[in-house]
Symmetry: C5
């Protein structure tokens, strides 16, 4: 849970534009794959040097350079310099604590978004992790940087390979759209899991006050805060893309991005709905604790109110005074028992009248 | 209740524009009815093939193609292709988890809204269900897609048949307005039911703390969240329609849509009012639980405070010491009884002074 | 209280523009009075037919047609048709559940606002009722529709009759302003009553926890929600009127409407202030319930903590063992009494130290 | 406290523009002082008639007419008419329940703001009072209306008299700025007092639950609501003045008003901060009440749980059965005492384990 | 904690533009250091008189005058007058209670921001302090005023000295950017500390209800209010700088300021996240107090409910009636013991059924 509070700090004091990786430590090598395609042909390979990529930079075909791993800044720097990417953009790529944003540099557009996935946290609970995806979209090329190998892009790659849909007939902007669409579709999967978890929790709550319910609610609220932080700024990013104001993302792409925009708004609305439901669940929880306490108190009060007076009566006739005439009466004992029983019965009737039983 | 948390997911990974039905499973066949009318004549029939519809596409008369059931994407696709509808629009039609929206495609306008109905959930409670209504309004034709056969459009159809009102003299835009107006009028019925349920709940609450009140309040709050989600975006949709900026919905329609707009705002205000009242009811509920607990505590305290000291007195004279002079006194026993009675009376007076009784 | 949740429904299914009265049922006849005046002369009469009104329509003098009662739609329709009022406007006049609004129809301006009054609800409580006032302001005429005979306009009529102030020298727009100003002034009276009720409630609360305080607070909160709903949209209406953009309400009227606007804002601010104070009062109430419970608990705890151990001691010496040496001691009994008294005293000192007493 | 809920009503029913004083009743006479100055000379006097003021109206020197007391409308009317002030402005001057605002009448600018002061409310508590200050700023003259003689303007008067700072070299606009600046500076004094009161209250709270803390917090919250209402609209007023759009307050004055604007924003921020802190204090208060109750309950439970079972044991051996073998044992009594002591000790150990002690 | 409520007041009554230091009292001397550099050379010295600074004012090289200590207004005044700084700006420099802002005076730009640092408050807790940093950025010069010697600028100075990065090749605007960037980077350090403190507190809370948790949460909430107040206005300041509208900060600087802007937004988001988490923690705390109380009550109720009835039975057989046949039965005593044991067992089973144990 603590992870969500992490603030990047290891860059403090360095000049702006210095490339230092900020994020989880990783040791695996950086993997680069290149797909170059147009309507007629497709080439796919893992480049051994950056020069291999730059060859494809100015060709009319669409080149997708997919970089997995941003923990080695020198790799990002080489690719960035090769494609003329601004140092501050390179810095943002390796700093994986950015919020989603979009910047238009005329020659290319820089987009940051968050890929979400749900991982097991070891204690049996699912936890949502986010990973930074940086897209640099230029004329005829798209460079994507991601932290780990995620299978969210597999369908897109399949469509390119199988020449399915429009993707082979369209440019780098359509490829960017396809990737963003795949990321946003992933959000729905995450939300579905959260929704199911929420339902389970709600049923537990309605069954009675679970002692750790408030902690679970708190944990889910924090996940919602985290989700909202990851998705909320995306709305603005995609809204800007859908306006078709840049030279890279032109007007005809508008309708596609408006579609993604609608999905993003749906995601945000679902998150807000979950938050409201969680607040309502906390209210139920607190109110059921109070109810339970009320019930406990009632039982205690009924028992005490019936038996304490009777105990006094028994105590009185247990006193050792010499002159207590009742003690000698023939039917004193049964009379007292009857007195006690009827006193108890009267109390019970009284409680029933007040609707305590 | 869980239903409201459903998030569509079965489309993830498919290329954009793929038609896959998202929503409740249905098995009944898709039913299409066509009404073609102008001021003078009216034809009404169930087409056996799509071609029958397309014949009416370019005629000057108004053609209303009413499609009930969107769970067979191929039907939507055929109609869509026949009328030149964008694939993404077709996709939105079959995905029934869209939020209300409006999109202007010059040749036609695409509108999504939510029809609400109240169904019995089996447990005796009314539950609000929503159904997606998609309207495609072009020059001289209107295609409406709905999930189930709803009788909300019957009055409109009657008016067309009986040539009542202006509807036969006006175009497809007026027909669209009539349908939207019928949907929004339906909202008032739903709200009235909710209002009555709210009143019943409120009277229950004022009568005393009902143990399941917080759950009922929670359930109704969730219904309000659900209602708001269905209606809120409609405001923007109708506001845009009322501006008369498109070529389909021209300026003279403005006054009609401003009227629907007013109704929508009334609906939204009513929902917000209900939400605020529900919050207030929860406060009453919690405060009445506290009040009740306070009362219970007072009874317990009064009983305990009066009888426990008296029991001690009885216990003292029940001790078996040999030298307890009081035990031998002639009037020891009645004296103790008087002592006890007066101690009890003093406590009672004290409680009355503190306003506990 | 339930009244505030009423939603109009009896119009559902009818074609738009159908005149059906929505609101409280009334049986009294509709009363129409006409005032026609200019700087020099004044005529006042109750017309027997609509034609009598229409005679005054095109005269240069100002004609004020005051209609009391909108429950007979045919009357509204006749007047409306005579003055060329749009059917949707006529519909809004007879539907008394509209929110305040203003519409500009070039030839006339249609304004809806809410008149408030405080009525006794039979149970001794004052309840705020609202009544719909519709104004149709044209060149040289003003038609006002109200539900019941309200005396709020008497001062305006008096001023016209006595030729006091500017009212006789000015046109229909100034008359409209005078009426709106009178309505808004009425709001202050209502707010003053609410403010006094609030003060009484607050003093009760500060005196101690009243058992029905939360219900009273809830009732007043609901009244505030109701008031806000009636007044809030008026702000926008008057703001638009003060801009002097229409041909009916020209720029020189701006300063007058800005004055009314200021009053409306004051009313809204007062309502918001009342709402915040009510929230604060609920907090006081809940906290005083908790405080009271705390006190009750303390008394119980003190009594129990002192007497229960002493009762044990008495119980021990009440045991019937044969070999209990203390029972034979000469001063066993007084020693035990001293022991008990000192144990009780020690507990009391302890409680005083912990500040419980 | 009740004072803050006051709503003006005694004007209802009168024609607009009627001058009726609304506010606290006062009996002292209205005092007028005039200061007329330019860079070289200064005249200061108390005029005996309005004509004396009007002489200075058109001179190039700056004339400051300071009117103390607005409870005699006829005085305001005379001055107003002499300087050509609109009747609605005169009305606003005598109605002291206005919210801060600014109106531009080309020839003069009308500004309303609130002067705050802290007065002793008799019960030892400081209470914040507000007083309305109306400024009419024209070319070469400034008329200020205030309710009572406030010393907040003394420093400004001193500066004029001593020809200190720029005030003698500048016009009526700079004088207006100086007065507004003096009023806003006064706010800081009030806020400092409030801040100190808040600190005292907070220290009390942290020491333990004070029984009247929630009332004090409520009172301070109400003062914050009152303060905000007085200061919030000023922000907009000064923002408009700083834009230098009118002919009276020209662009070069912008920098001065931006400075006052910054101060006003600081005041508003401080008020909001105080409000948030007060909310936090209520939470502390409620949580410390709960904590205290928890502690009380624990003591009760520990005592009851230890002694009630022991009392049962004593009760058992107090029974009068003839055949109770233990009673005849030689060491029965000490054995029971040991049994009781060890049972009590076990309970204590159990409570310590559960961390109740 | 009280420090955050401090409101400056010692300036009240003085003419605007009077330089009076507002802030913490300091006694150390004001220290001025000058750095003058261009691409080729660098001079660094501590001037002995103001004239030494003014020499560098009009040179093409970049001059950074760093003033540490603003508690001697005469020093600020001398420097200000030498560089033609407006008196109101000088006033703002010495008043250290300003909120972040930016003002454009054509010849120079005046920026106020807050440097944060975390200091030990003596009681072992870290407390966040803020210090005002004023920047005056002109063509070729930058004057920075800070309250104490902060090491936050050391990396910038190092970069200038070592001619690292672009800083030596760029102008005063880039220097200003570097300083602001350093200040914002510092915020991340502070937030990281806060995040860690939050985690520790959260773990404490989840372990059980800590008695002083609400106070700690309150203290951290206040720190968040304080942080937000210091950082929030900076967003607007940097946004304006990034637009490149002034002549000092031209368009090419935009990309750098957009980067700082992103960081500022991240800081603000983190603060808001912390605030939400703190609210959630209070809810956990309150709910765990209630839970704990519930548990305590249950124990009390179970004990009382089992033993009080048994005590009554023992009391009954302790009564001294002469005719109590059971007392003489041979197995009366064991029978009663068995009766008691089974009654207790039944109660236990009942509690287990109700899930109280």
């Amino acid at each position: 849970m603590a992870r969500h509070l992490k603030i990047r700090t290891n860059k403090v004091g360095l000049p702006p534009g210095t490339l230092v990786h900020v994020g989880e430590e990783r040791t695996e090598p950086v993997r680069i794959t290149v797909m170059d395609y147009d309507q007629d042909q497709l080439r796919e390979f893992c480049p051994t040097s950056i020069d291999q990529c730059s060859d494809y930079r100015d060709r009319p075909s669409v080149t997708w350079i997919k970089v997995v791993g941003v923990h080695r800044p020198e790799v990002v720097e080489m690719i960035g310099n090769c494609f003329g990417i601004h140092p501050l953009v390179q810095e943002d790529v390796v700093h994986t604590e950015q919020r989603p944003k979009m910047e238009d540099f005329d020659d290319y557009i820089f987009i940051i978004l968050k890929m979400l996935k749900s991982v097991d946290d070891g204690a049996g609970d699912e936890q949502i992790r986010s990973e930074q995806l940086s897209l640099i979209v230029g004329r005829g090329f798209l460079i994507s940087f991601q932290e780990t190998e995620a299978d969210v892009f597999d369908p897109v790659r399949d469509r390119i390979r199988k020449s399915k849909g429009k993707i082979r007939r369209k440019g780098a902007d359509y490829l960017a759209y396809s990737l963003i669409d795949a990321v946003v579709d992933q959000y729905f999967l995450i939300l579905e899991e959260v929704g199911e978890e929420l339902e389970v929790l709600e049923e537990e709550l309605l069954a009675g006050p679970a002692p750790d319910a408030s902690q679970k609610i708190h944990r889910m609220k924090r996940e919602m805060i985290f989700l909202r932080k990851s998705v909320w700024p995306l709305r603005e990013v995609i809204s800007r893309l859908s306006r078709g104001e840049s030279e890279i993302f032109t007007e005809p792409m508008g309708i596609y991005f408006r579609d993604v925009y609608d999905h993003t708004v749906q995601v945000i609305e679902a998150i807000e709905t979950f938050r409201e439901i969680l607040s309502g669940m906390l209210e139920i929880h607190l109110s059921s604790i109070s109810n339970r306490m009320n019930e406990v108190m009632k039982v205690l009060t009924i028992i005490a109110t019936i038996f304490i007076p009777l105990t006094l009566v028994a105590g009185i006739y247990g006193m050792n005074f010499e002159y207590m005439p009742e003690l000698r009466w023939r039917y004193g004992y049964p009379a007292v028992l009857v007195l006690m029983a009827s006193a108890g019965a009267i109390m019970l009737i009284y409680f029933r009248r007040r609707r305590w039983i």
